[in-house]
Symmetry: C2
């Protein structure tokens, strides 16, 4: 079902076709992160995908178009699994918590880390292509900001600045690709829960010593 | 005083020499972010710095060495203005809060945004140079992790995972260069205070409706 959605939007005729295309774009992302965009040829991507060049062109438009295709694919998957999944949640605080957990799952296990890198670090797109991806990224920021403003208005939050909250949320979630290792000590599920608790509940123990008391009072 | 510290460590003979070198490295960082490392020549950097090539070589070692010099300069400034400034603070929670505020000030106004980009996105360093910078970055992560563990032990925090807290802190702070504009609506001081409140106090209003009550209870 989820796959079909992506297939429709990316123009793949079948769910299988969309899976194939996703695998190719993730392979291309890995090669580009390893060898640079200039250093990666269409032949390299075909070889790594077990395809002929002609077979590869069935799935991607051109090398010139490749960075846009990877970024668009990243945004397609993100919107389907995170943004569109949480938009209908009525309670803004629950919407934001679910959104953070889903976004963390996507960043830790939804695709290869290199897709995130190309989505957020490759400033190589220009003109119309760049504007297109930026508009989709901005839409997410606006969604977060609006949700935080709504939660504030409902009295669910302290007196936050919704814009700062939105970017703090994003930074916490998107920085994960810089350090998280799928085979490391922290499982993705535990990470999502920890981060949601930390972001929404705060670090300080609300039942602990008052934050103003700077003495080294022992407890627990 | 601060400048002298950097001058000593970077080998500049005087505070003025260190300022000069800093300005050159920030110019080089800007050019590299604009035109790429390969696309930036020593002549470009000399021109943009108002120096002859010979004059430039008085301040930098070689083009090959430039990315390491920019990253080392970034780490020098960071350690002096943030890490070494907060390490002596005895109370771990106050140490962490001060650290976040100081790091935000550095990212928003301590140097050009491009130094941060080269420090965190340019994976171009290899071998010994890369190991050297990574060791300094890891030292910061360890410092944060240890401070969070200490705060936890003192009963100042809820039951956090210190490693997750450290990376959540870093993500929130380091993502700022992606969106912050010095001429934007949020002044750097207000941003630092907002983020400290948000990270340590949490988003939810502790005196507000219980987080389990998902009803849309109006308040404030």
């Amino acid at each position: 079902m989820a796959r079909q959605g992506i297939a429709e939007r990316t123009g793949g005729a079948t769910a299988e076709g969309a899976d194939r295309r996703a695998a190719i774009l993730e392979t291309a992302a890995r090669l580009i992160c390893e060898k640079g965009y200039e250093g990666t040829s269409i032949q390299d991507i075909a070889d790594a995908s077990g395809l002929t060049k002609a077979g590869l062109y069935h799935h991607i438009r051109s090398k010139e178009h490749l960075l846009l295709e990877i970024q668009s694919y990243g945004m397609d998957v993100f919107e389907e699994r995170v943004l569109h999944a949480v938009m209908p949640i009525e309670d803004p605080l629950l919407r934001l918590k679910t959104c953070m957990a889903k976004n963390i799952h996507l960043v830790t296990s939804g695709w290869s880390k290199e897709v995130t890198i190309i989505l957020h670090e490759h400033a190589t797109l220009t003109g119309e292509a760049r504007a297109q991806i930026n508009a989709r990224k901005k839409r997410y920021v606006r969604f977060l900001e609006t949700s935080f403003a709504e939660a504030l208005q409902k009295g669910q939050t302290r007196a936050i600045n919704p814009k700062v909250a939105a970017f703090a949320f994003l930074g916490q979630v998107l920085w994960i690709y810089k350090w998280f290792r799928p085979d490391g000590q922290i499982p993705a599920d535990a990470l999502a829960q920890e981060m949601v608790d930390l972001f929404f509940g705060g670090l300080e123990d609300p039942s602990g010593p008052a934050p103003k008391a700077r003495k080294t009072g022992k407890k627990g």
